[in-house]
Symmetry: D2
Subunit: 306 residues, 4 copies
């Protein structure tokens, strides 16, 4: 296991809004402190769960500015530099660096797809323009490209990337990524984006996790990580079963599908638990209402979160 | 057939670069003039073929500023406002308007997908923030959502959008879009993004075409449009066969796939024909070389373009 | 245009069932005669619309036996030999031949997918075991492989296949198939499986069409083909618009999706028009009822079919 | 944990062929005995790895007849009844039963897709025609439908199915299936089809595994199962890492993709290990040769299998 500072539980931070759909700084600070107090090992801003796609550039950098100040070096801050193609990502990287973040997280190019040569060149080009630690973000559901494990380890060995956040849902390739990474001397910090199968990812040798659900229950993810570190697999599994059932907050939503059901459920849970002041979402997504809110509350109660 | 100014052949403008991958203004003006002289009815900047995804915001607006000046009101200028989600698109819309373009072109949200409710709300939200004519850009290969014909006609009837650029490749739904549009009184200008099946789209009742290949052979597309207007279907068909064979420039590429093979072939053809000074592409795409260039030249010669 | 007997309008025959979901021979003969009287140039049994996937082998060969007798050499009979992989298809081919059909129609392998080498070898292996004219059936929606135009023309030049039934919905590749076929001396009879864009396929140079909707309105498809043969493109287009609107029978269905909505709507229309005695479907598909039937009737009335 | 006889390690049996691509009974018996001697808890014939799609019906029932005799009640025999749609599957079920198998395994309908109603009706219709224990086989890579966990548990509670073989690769839904199954009183035996992430599936509560790789290394899978039963998670994990590296036999293949690379690598390994007499595949798949064979041997040696 590496000595990197980028290991353990690093939640992607969900962003609270007020009733006018503006950034709610008070709730943001409450949520950040709640996660740090629970013992998380880092925080990832401007990820998919952090509504990076829905924020204008001005809003993105407002979030980063406030977040870095609120975190105040208590844990490392990772920042998503999510944009369509290479030079737009480089643009985001340069600006994010100015706000004092500790690492950057970039996906493969999306919108106009190419082949594996373009994907690899993309990460190498970003590195040529930035010096912060860089994580490759594997998220085919948004990016429509699966990152190849062999390429990732090659990028790690060459010092292009320092780690991977794997939200691919492809646990076979994740295992093979972990194996190839070990065989190469562990150049990469390999983080799973799973919420529901983190125990399997730890079995595979993950260096940490980046679960959106940790916004709701950071304590259990932190305890699970520590149980893993101490070899208590039955506890790892037991906590995972609780968290898998808690993730039903996203399964009970009936009014919409996709992002609005996923992050929409997280925001609704945080609102009902008193961490957020609303469950507002950004355009074009609407906040969940009525029966959906009630169904989410029932899941929270069943799992002892309320 | 409507009296709209947005009809006929409206090429998406491919953007020339110099050897340093910087915008080549001389070549851009030559290409624009060449298309206007051929009789095109409009020009579409910052579309997919216009490398919108590869341009930083500063580069995007540099292109628009120069393009509007170069076109100088000879034909209408449409501008892509392509970004991930609603408020980022609105941001692009506001800036594009400042440069004096005549219409805006927006896709559905991409990156974080939702359902049909979010797609419809997205276009309505853009309209609330903009007053320029707005075209919906249906491009599932990049956007991963197919726009529903019934929704499009409803948006047209409600004055939200003025037209559609259909690059879906789904000719059944295109036909149904044309039929539903007629039944509603033709609220939409329906433009096909096809290069190879424009004759079929005209059979279906399209109001025009937006073919990337018209950068290479604008004369044939303009003649095809005029043949269609005069009911000379055999000429429409004959020109289409030529253009379908000319599109083989994108099929003969072996070195890469996707965008680099498509727009890469267009740039290489324009370079070899003397319209562009190079065939440079933006990161992470590499310019075509060697055998690929030779194969493209052979297609051009076979179709009488060189 | 080739002198092949496999050209013009060749409907895939929809199979009528009685109330007990058994083959309804009386209705089958009525429907066959109705299409032959309308002037169709061939009939295709055991295609997707012919419920080939839903029939046991015994039922498949019962259909073929009766169909060959009913058609009685008035038009050529094509038979689908649809099965999962090569040797199962060969098995089907041998049996179909015994019933006196004129040509065979086979898809690429499905279930266990391979690459292009396996697809090409598959058709060559079928040819080694059969001597009837063989058509390649390009149907990615069921088969999950798109047949490559260059491979198809190579198979044609080598005498492996005599033609293609293209139900891919990819009109660009269809155009290129037609062009490559011409350049090779027209070894293939290229038939479109479109219902809604047959005019575009004729523009591309198709040798005929295989539209399921011709079970409902064979007269219009036959007239359209003849208009195409005489160069009356305006009539081709006008008939296509009618047929495209008639195809709304499949769009108005609300109770289900996929095959049950498509062929289910065809059966319901034929039942309401008095050609079939029921609209029964085979397990696990349920016959359409209530509002769906009413909506289909309205489409039929609007298009003058009732 | 249920007392069902269908639990533990149940390999899908890979079928050996001789040089003429005929069933090699000697090698089949050797491989069956090797797996039973290693302690497997059942054997699954006519699954995807068992080339069910490539066998004619006559060949399928030849395999079953011989297999049942060779196994001779030492372990339960499960038989795939894989066909396109419901009544063809029922046909297969009736015949398989005659050969004395202990359970049947059926996928959702494929070829002509419907919606969730048709999928559920399909399994209920099979049950109406059969009385043997029935497993639902979730294999979207071949079937193009993902089975919904809630539907599966409902089918279990209603006595329609006795279990699930999950080869979906969707470990989130697998976890939720296990959770819903527990909440319903464990009506289903839930078996994972993973080779590489079996430890994660055991963490989730799987009742067993059906790994094709167990044809090559049955001893390790059996030991892994027993370690899981005794709570020795470190040993479960260690064995999994070995098996994940052994699965590289399928990753080193360069000559083809898909089934030919997967099962082709298994056959090549078994041949090189002396269990099979050849690595022949059925049409249209070709046996692996040269460098691919060598690369597979190297993996086997590295993992101590040769």
């Amino acid at each position: 296991m590496s000595e990197s500072q980028f290991r353990g539980v690093i939640p992607p931070v969900v962003i609270p809004l007020d009733e006018n759909r503006k950034l709610d700084l008070e709730a943001l600070e409450r949520s950040i402190n709640r996660m740090i107090d629970a013992g998380v090992d880092g925080l990832f801003f401007l990820g998919s769960s952090g509504e990076v796609a829905f924020l204008t550039d001005a809003q993105r950098y407002h979030v980063l500015q406030e977040a870095v100040a609120m975190v105040n070096n208590r844990v490392p801050v990772l920042a998503g530099i999510i944009d369509m193609e290479t030079m737009r990502v480089v643009d985001q990287a340069k600006r994010a660096k100015g706000y004092g973040v500790d690492a950057l997280v970039a996906t493969a190019p999306f919108y106009a797809l190419g082949g594996p040569k373009e994907v690899e060149r993309h990460f190498r080009a970003i590195r040529e323009h930035t010096d912060l630690p860089l994580f490759a973000y594997d998220l085919p559901v948004c990016v429509h490209t699966k990152l190849d494990p062999t390429m990732l380890v090659r990028l790690g060995t060459d010092g292009v990337i320092q780690g991977v956040k794997d939200s691919s849902g492809d646990d076979v390739l994740f295992r093979w990524l972990c194996i190839e990474n070990e065989q190469a001397g562990h150049p990469l910090q390999v983080l799973t984006g799973h919420e529901v199968c983190v125990d399997g990812a730890y079995m595979a040798g993950a260096d940490g996790s980046v679960p959106g659900l940790a916004n709701i229950d950071p304590v259990s993810y932190v305890e699970q990580w520590r149980a893993y570190q101490s070899g208590d697999w039955e506890r790892v599994r037991e906590l995972q079963d609780h968290l898998a059932r808690l993730m039903f907050v996203t399964r009970v939503v009936k009014a919409t599908v996709g992002f609005g059901a996923g992050v929409g459920a997280f925001k609704t849970a945080l609102w009902q638990m008193g961490v957020f002041n609303t469950n507002q979402m950004r355009e074009p997504v609407q906040a969940l209402e009525g029966e959906d809110v009630q169904a989410i509350v029932e899941v929270l109660k069943r799992e002892g979160m309320m």
